[in-house]
Every structure is written in C-alpha cells, then in structure tokens.
C-alpha cells in the first residue's frame, strides 16, 4: 500500500517534469542557437558543433561582424542602459506617487474620498488604446516626443499601483497611526515612519511589476522614439530583426541578453511575487 502511494507520487513528479521541459524547450533552443556559427543555424541540432561565443561580443560591439568586417550598426549596450534607466525612473516615481495616493485613500478620512477613489477605479477599465493617440498628441504639444521625459512621465502614475497599495495599507491596524499620533507625529511622519515600513511587501510587489512592465514596454517607446540613441531594448530588438534579419544567431544572442536577467530576477524574487499576485489579483 505504501509502495503504491510512493509510486503515485513518483509518477506525479514525472508528469510535472515532462510539462516543465516542454515549457523551457524554447529557452534551451534560444541559448543553443545563440552560440551557433552562422553556417550551423540551419542544422537540426540544439547545440553547435563549433560553438561561437563571439556572437555575444559581436552584438555588444566588442568584435566586428564576420560578414562585413565592421562593428554592428546598432547600439545594443546603449539600448540596454536606456531600458534600465527608464524602467528605474518610472518605477521609483510610480511607487512613490502610488504610495502617497494610497495613504490618502486608506489612512486619512476625508469627505468625498470614496467618490474620488471610485473615479480612479473606473479609469482602470479604460483600454490603454483609447488613451494612446491623444497622449501622443499631448506629448507633441509639450515638445516631449523623442525624449527620456516623454517616455518616463506618462508611465509614472498608475491607478493600478494606487489600488494595490491601498489594499495593502487597509490591512494595517488603525492603532499604529493612533499611537503615533498620540506621540505627536504628523501625517508625513506617520506615512514615512509607520505606514511605509509596514507596507513593504506591497511595495516590493509593485516595484517588480512596474519595473518588469516598463523594461518590456513596447507600444509607447515605439511611437515616441525617433532616434537610435534613445531606443529601448524591445524597440532595439525590432530594428535588429529588421536590419540583421537573416543572422538568427546574433538575434538569439541579443534575445538571451534580454531574457536571462529576467529569469534570474524572477528566481530571486519569486516568493514575494507569488504572494503579491495572489493578493493583488493581477499583474500590472
């Protein structure tokens, strides 16, 4: 009987291993192809016979492209920096503004609060597509097209972030604020010293989602960026495929450099993330 149960557990493991392999096969192919020399790309194999790690140096412009003998016409390192830079600014601003607004919605009692909050919630229903075209026109009017600020500013405010942080802050017992108030703390001090430290799990979740979403964001940079030096990684990959389309091994090396940091980030933060998703309901 015991053996039967252990065998069932073992079979369960086997089934899950099979599914897991199926899920990661595209990644395995991606990594293998990124090391292939161009002559081997069409061969039916996951790994090259003659690995060519230089593909990475070529993409990073540390080595010349073997076909033209020149450095690639693309600024991959700069795009990488742009993506990190923009995502970092958006995340910092969005977490700050969301936490402040959430504090006003969750910890202060004022007239009209629920109405304003409902207004916020209802805008979460508006498709981003409806807002994109006029937002672009606003950016044109403000002269922010093709600038870092134009990429950062519209993403720095989020109804979803406000909603998520409010849910977290509502869960903090009221007695903490009251005790701080007795000690003569004002709202700014309560916010900074009491509520923010207690809302940290929520902030971590929001930080990861916002960072990830903006690191991967495609539509807005696509319409906002005209110059090569401002491109972000996703837009860079698009121009990469346009220009070096047949050189699959280089495209895969670039893709690996985009995806692998995300895999590491995910494995490092997965505990907080899973808790955050299950609490907040959705990915931002």
């Amino acid at each position: 009987m015991l053996i039967w149960q252990e065998l069932k557990t073992f079979l369960r493991h086997l089934l899950m291993i099979a599914v897991a392999i199926l899920m990661i096969v595209p990644f395995l192919w991606m990594i293998g192809t990124s090391f292939k020399p161009h002559s081997e790309v069409e061969r039916e194999s996951l790994l090259p016979e003659q690995p060519q790690p230089q593909n990475y140096s070529i993409v990073l412009r540390r080595a010349p492209d073997p076909y033209t003998g020149k450095l690639l016409d693309l600024n991959f390192p700069k795009w990488y920096f742009n993506s990190l830079f923009i995502a970092a600014w958006v995340t910092a601003l969005q977490v700050l503004t969301s936490c402040m607004a959430a504090y006003a919605f969750a910890r202060i009692e004022w007239k009209g609060r629920d109405k304003v909050f409902f207004l916020y919630l209802s805008t979460m229903m508006i498709p981003g597509l409806v807002l994109m075209l006029p937002n672009y026109q606003i950016m044109v009017a403000l002269g922010l097209v093709n600038t870092y600020i134009g990429l950062i500013l519209p993403a720095a405010f989020s109804a979803f972030g406000t909603f998520l942080m409010r849910q977290f802050m509502l869960g903090i017992p009221k007695s903490y604020d009251e005790a701080a108030e007795m000690d003569g703390a004002n709202h700014l001090q309560i916010f900074l010293d009491v509520i923010l430290p207690l809302a940290r799990p929520g902030m971590i979740t929001l930080t990861i989602f916002t960072f990830l979403g903006n690191f991967q964001s495609f539509f807005w940079p696509l319409v906002m960026i005209k110059d090569d030096y401002l491109r972000t990684l996703p837009i860079g990959l698009l121009s990469f495929t346009g220009q070096y389309g047949p050189q699959t091994e280089l495209i895969m090396a670039a893709t690996v450099m985009n995806i692998v940091p995300l895999i590491i980030l995910f494995i490092a933060m997965q505990k907080q993330l899973v808790a955050g998703i299950q609490l907040g309901g959705v990915k931002g």
């Binding site: 015991l2 149960q5 557990t9 073992f10 369960r12 493991h13 089934l15 899950m16 291993i17 897991a20 392999i21 899920m23 990661i24 595209p26 990644f27 192919w29 293998g32 069409e42 996951l46 090259p48 503004t97 402040m100 607004a101 202060i108 004022w110 007239k111 609060r113 805008t123 229903m125 508006i126 498709p127 597509l129 409806v130 075209l133 006029p134 672009y136 026109q137 606003i138 720095a156 405010f157 109804a159 990830l212 991967q216 495609f218 698009l238 495929t241 699959t248 495209i251 895969m252 985009n258 995806i259 995300l262 895999i263 995910f266 494995i267 997965q270 899973v274 998703i277 959705v282 990915k283």
Partner: protein, 365 residues
C-alpha cells in the same frame, strides 16, 4: 479642535498626498479620454496639412461601412479562442501542482534528486563524447529539472511553469518567430520528421475555422494551421503557467478540506470531486480570469502583429489594436483611429457587463 475643522484639515492633508498622482492622472488619463472622444468626431490628423474640422459621425459611419474592420474584429475574436484553452490548461496545471509531491518516506527526496542528477550527468557526458551534443544538452536540462523537482516539489515546478509568462515581451515574440521559421525553426524541424508537409505557420492564411464559408475579403486560406494558430500557440505557452495558474493555486488552498472529507465518506470518484467541489469552489477565480481575459483579449494582438507578421499574411493577424495603430501612426489619422478605439471600448464595456450579469447569476445559484 472640533470635528469639522479636523475634517477639513484632514482633507487638506489628503489632497496634498493625492496631488502628484492626481495631476498625472488628469493629464494622462482624464484629459486624453475627453480628447479622444472629441477627436473621433473630427478630422484630427498628425499631418499639418489637414485642417481640424468637426465632421460629426463621419468617422463612425465610415468605420461601420469598412469591410476590413469586421475582418479584423473576426481575427481578434478568433485569437481570443486561445483564452478558454489557456484557462483550462492553467486550471489543470494548478490542480496537478496542488497534489502531494512529498514522499511518505522523506529520505526518498534527496536520494531521488541525487540519482536523477547523477544519471543525467553520466548520460549527458556519454552522449557528448559519442557526438550528440544536442541530446546531451537535453539530458542535462532534464537532469536539472528533475533534481530540482524531487528536492523542492511543486514550488520548483511552479517556477518553471511561470517563466514563459514572466519573460513575455518583445524578446519572447522574436524567439517564437524564429522557432516557427520554416527552414531552421525548431518546430518544423521536429514536425518534419512526422509529416510530409509541415504547416506554413507565420506565412500561411489557413486557420482551424478555415472550413467556414467566410466572406472573400477575410482571405480565408482553408482549413489548417496558419499564422493565427502560431500566435495562439505562443499565447497559450505564455499564459498557461502564468497568473491564472497562480490565482487558481491560491483558490485551491482556500477550499475547506472537510468538503473533500465529506465527499470521501460518500465514496465520490476523483472526477466527481472535481466537478462537484473543486470547480464550483473556484468559480469566483474563473469569473475574474474570464473578465480580465475578455478585456485584455479584445485589446490584444498588437505586439505579435508588429513584431512577427506586420499584420499579415493577407491581413489575417491584424487585430483591432493593430488596426488602431496603423490608422493612427502610419496613416496619421488620429480621428479615425480614435473612433475605432471608442467602438472597441464600448464593445469591451458591453461584454464585461454581460459577463458580469451572467456570471453573478451563475454564482448565486
């Protein structure tokens, strides 16, 4: 201090806290909302040569007479058929992950992990030396996955399942467009071993509903696997182990165990347990996931179309969102683009409300 001055003081502080967010909210959500509605009744264009004129319902009339709009709406709806598949898949994975992965004899776990790792390492080394690096690579991956699986159980499987969703973006879309490549893509290399003529994927206008008598301008390529199926398969890969699965896992852990104990006493089969306890108990999650799926799905398909297919072949992967993009940023006609966006918005609202009504009634039963 009496209560009313306190209230007023509170309000001032609250508004100060709210101010940065609220300003951004007005500038980038409320103002554009009004602008886009107003703009949809005008000749609003990014071309300086076109004067801004109020033209009433012209954009909307043009839209409803636009045969292609219905084609793109059909494409959008067809791609959304991947949604029930990924929801069912996510539920299946969640139920599987929710089972017991701990062995009764705890010492089995590290031993099995070690065995798997050793066998895989030896196998990989042997295959490498005998000249099949690809199989060695697969064996090594298999060894790693099984060793981690035996050691950490469902947490480790959950991580592998969630990876495609976490990394989803331009990079994975480009990765898949290479996987579908008819010459060197992995998918047709594998399928080529079993079939004479592997599917044309991203270059094919075929679809699984290709047998339907669709209008001629739908560019129906007949029954088969085409670009739309390619996008759907990629979508299912990305979604099946994603947030939906995590939400189902959370839902499963909230089902009171005594429900199952009662079912056991009644001698219920696993199938009955699922349909009479698990599935109804998870109804709120299913409901939420469906609503979010409809909202997201109707707006979806832009990145895939832009990065993989340029909306083709023959427009078969052009969705409404990609249409709005091409109208706005390629034809520079923001007025018409806004009209399309608003029709889509109304459609989303209507479907969400219908979903809500139908869903709440079902849940009340």
């Amino acid at each position: 201090m009496n209560t009313s001055t306190r209230e007023r003081g509170n309000r001032r502080v609250a508004l100060l806290f709210l101010a940065p967010n609220f300003l951004g909210f007005c500038l980038f959500a409320l103002v554009p909302l009004v602008l886009s509605l107003a703009g949809s009744f005008t000749t609003w264009s990014l071309r300086p040569s076109v004067p801004l004129q109020f033209i009433g319902l012209t954009n909307y009339i043009q839209l409803f007479q636009d045969k292609n709009f219905y084609f793109y709406l059909y494409n959008t709806g067809y791609l959304m058929l991947a949604m029930p598949v990924s929801i069912a898949g996510a539920l299946t994975l969640a139920v599987l992950l929710n089972q017991q992965f701990q062995f009764k004899r705890a010492r089995y776990q590290p031993r099995l992990a070690l065995t798997a790792a050793v066998i895989a390492a030896l196998g990989a080394a042997g295959l490498w030396l005998t000249g099949s690096p690809s199989l060695a690579y697969l064996t090594a991956a298999l060894g790693l996955v099984s060793a981690l699986g035996f050691l950490f159980g469902s947490v480790s499987y959950r991580t592998f399942f969630y990876l495609p969703h976490f990394t989803a973006g331009a990079a994975t879309i480009i990765l898949w467009s290479q996987l579908y490549n008819p010459n060197f893509g992995l998918i047709n290399q594998v399928l080529g071993r079993f079939m004479e003529q592997p599917p044309g994927w991203l270059t094919s206008t075929k679809s699984l509903l290709g047998f339907l008598p669709l209008p001629a301008h739908f560019n129906n390529g007949g029954f088969g696997l085409g670009a739309r199926e390619a996008i759907m398969i990629m979508g299912i890969w990305g979604a099946i182990g994603g947030n939906t699965m995590l939400l189902y896992l959370a839902g499963l852990s909230n089902i009171p165990p005594d429900l199952y104990e009662a079912a056991d006493i009644d001698g219920a089969s696993p199938w009955q347990r699922f349909w009479h306890i698990t599935f109804p108990q998870l109804a709120p999650t299913t409901f939420f996931v469906c609503i979010m799926g409809v909202i997201g799905g109707l707006q979806g398909g832009f990145e895939q179309a832009r990065l993989m297919t340029e909306g083709g072949p023959a427009g078969t992967t052009t969705t409404v969102s990609y249409y709005i993009y091409t109208q706005g940023f390629e034809r520079l006609d923001l007025g018409y683009g806004s009209a399309v966006a608003w029709v889509l918005f109304v459609l989303i609202l209507a479907l969400t409300l219908a979903n809500w009504k139908y869903g709440s009634r079902r849940m009340a039963d």
